[in-house]
Symmetry: C2
Subunit: 279 residues, 2 copies
């Protein structure tokens, strides 16, 4: 997805929120915000996807505040919070008429744990809503069919905490050869290898890393190397907005599972903010 | 009220919205937004009130887009819309048990017509809500008393459209010597002399202009000249957030009537977003 002018105020808001996560020092917060304003002023939006710019913004936040992982606390908090919910989520799956559908819905519900679009969300309410809600774009039948005929699955995770909900879905995909992809370095509250291990995903899937573009944290999502991996899999499951922004135009068998939180993604995908999607 | 770091993302959003109001040309919109990013990067927030920075931001929008009044259309639209509602608003006052209270509530309800905090609001729903809603800060009894013992009233208007609701309140203030203050030049959808005349306020009050700081559009709200006027009045009625931001620390007998639309003003005044205030 291309970067719109409307992304700019959103990046500025993200920079402020991230700088507050990174430091309580207001002078550093202001310095960070001004460095981001300067970066955005001098960045051409042309031919750039939003995650490319987000990567620069959050790198500035880390550099100016000298905090290498501003969202560490909230990542830990939501990993623990979601793990506490894990037994009751498993019961929901066990009691349901259609285990795969319920597990898929839960994986999408977990996508609300996203500190990119803002820091306010109600996890428990979202779970109940998403279990009952109609899909705005519903390719679930194709998804089930594709799963049945697939062996090699690439699963692109999104946020810390959310990955516990992904684990619920992963555990329904028995006898598959699954690779779970996380970020190679900290950006917003995106899950990293540590998060994936903490919630036990390494017990059910191979873990691989991808980056938003920093070369030392894995191949970029749009690199030839990574796109080869996407195309090499029988099926790709892509969670969340960031992966959609990065891969919506890539030619591979990708199912996008997400909760729409941004009006521009809503427009691009053909849905509304608040909708749930399996496309 | 001082300018917070949190005002910055809001100014950037305002600049984008204003640039879209000003022109359909996306290249000009981007040029405008980048000029505003540069301005904000190089502006110290220290000892500045938000309207001072807003003035610069919107001046850049006018200059870069070469549109001297980006909100002209919505100002006209809401003046007309509110004038159409005028007869039914008058009936609400006539039917009410307490005419002054109802007229005051309506004047506050009209304050929702504000394109600063965002361009989405529901005017009709707001009117019904505000007529039924409790005040979060309620100095109405003091307001009534102060009105009874006042002759010279200075009424600081806020937005186009809203001023029709102000007219409803002004018409209840019989036998007073009222000066209605509007902006000397276009900024967001703030009412100007043309708007005040269009909705017939010149028939019930003397009209004076004030500016956000541009010297050719009247004295600034915080100039010695204008503060003298505030102090010279028996009573000042101040509508909306901008006037509160500019005058909250000024020593004069000011009643602030507003609907809270910004979380920072909410915190400063001691209320919540959505609350109505007479302080």
């Amino acid at each position: 997805m291309k970067t719109y002018l409307d992304c700019i105020p959103c990046f500025v808001r993200q920079a402020l929120e991230a700088s507050k996560m990174a430091t309580g020092n207001k002078i550093k917060q202001e310095k960070t915000l001004k460095a981001v304003l300067s970066e955005l002023e001098n960045t051409s939006l042309k031919n750039k996807i939003p995650p490319q710019i987000a990567r620069k913004v959050h790198r500035i936040v880390r550099e100016v505040t000298k905090n290498n992982d501003p969202y560490k606390k909230v990542k830990d908090k939501y990993n623990r919070k979601a793990l506490k919910m894990y037994p009751s989520l498993k019961r929901k799956v066990a009691k349901s008429k259609d285990r795969l559908l319920t597990a898929t819905r839960l994986a999408i519900a977990g996508n609300i744990i996203d500190f990119g679009p803002g820091s306010k969300f109600d996890l428990k309410k979202t779970i109940e809503d998403v279990l009952a809600q109609d899909f705005a774009i519903n390719h679930f039948n194709q998804f089930r069919k594709a799963l049945n005929s697939s062996k090699k699955i690439l699963y692109l995770g999104d946020n810390a905490g959310e990955i516990v909900f992904d684990r619920i879905l992963l555990e329904e995909l028995k006898d598959k050869e699954i690779t779970f992809v996380v970020k190679g370095g900290p950006i917003i509250n995106d899950a990293t290898v540590d998060d994936a291990r903490f919630v036990g995903i390494d017990k059910i899937a191979k873990i691989e890393v991808v980056s938003n573009g920093d070369p030392d944290t894995g191949p970029a999502r749009r690199s030839k190397e990574f796109i080869n991996k996407l195309q090499d899999a029988d099926l790709v499951i892509s969670k969340g907005q960031g992966n959609y922004e990065a891969l919506s135009e890539v030619d591979a068998d990708i199912f996008f599972l997400l909760k729409v939180k941004c009006p521009l993604i809503a427009r691009d995908i053909g849905a509304k903010v608040g909708n749930i999607i399996i496309k």
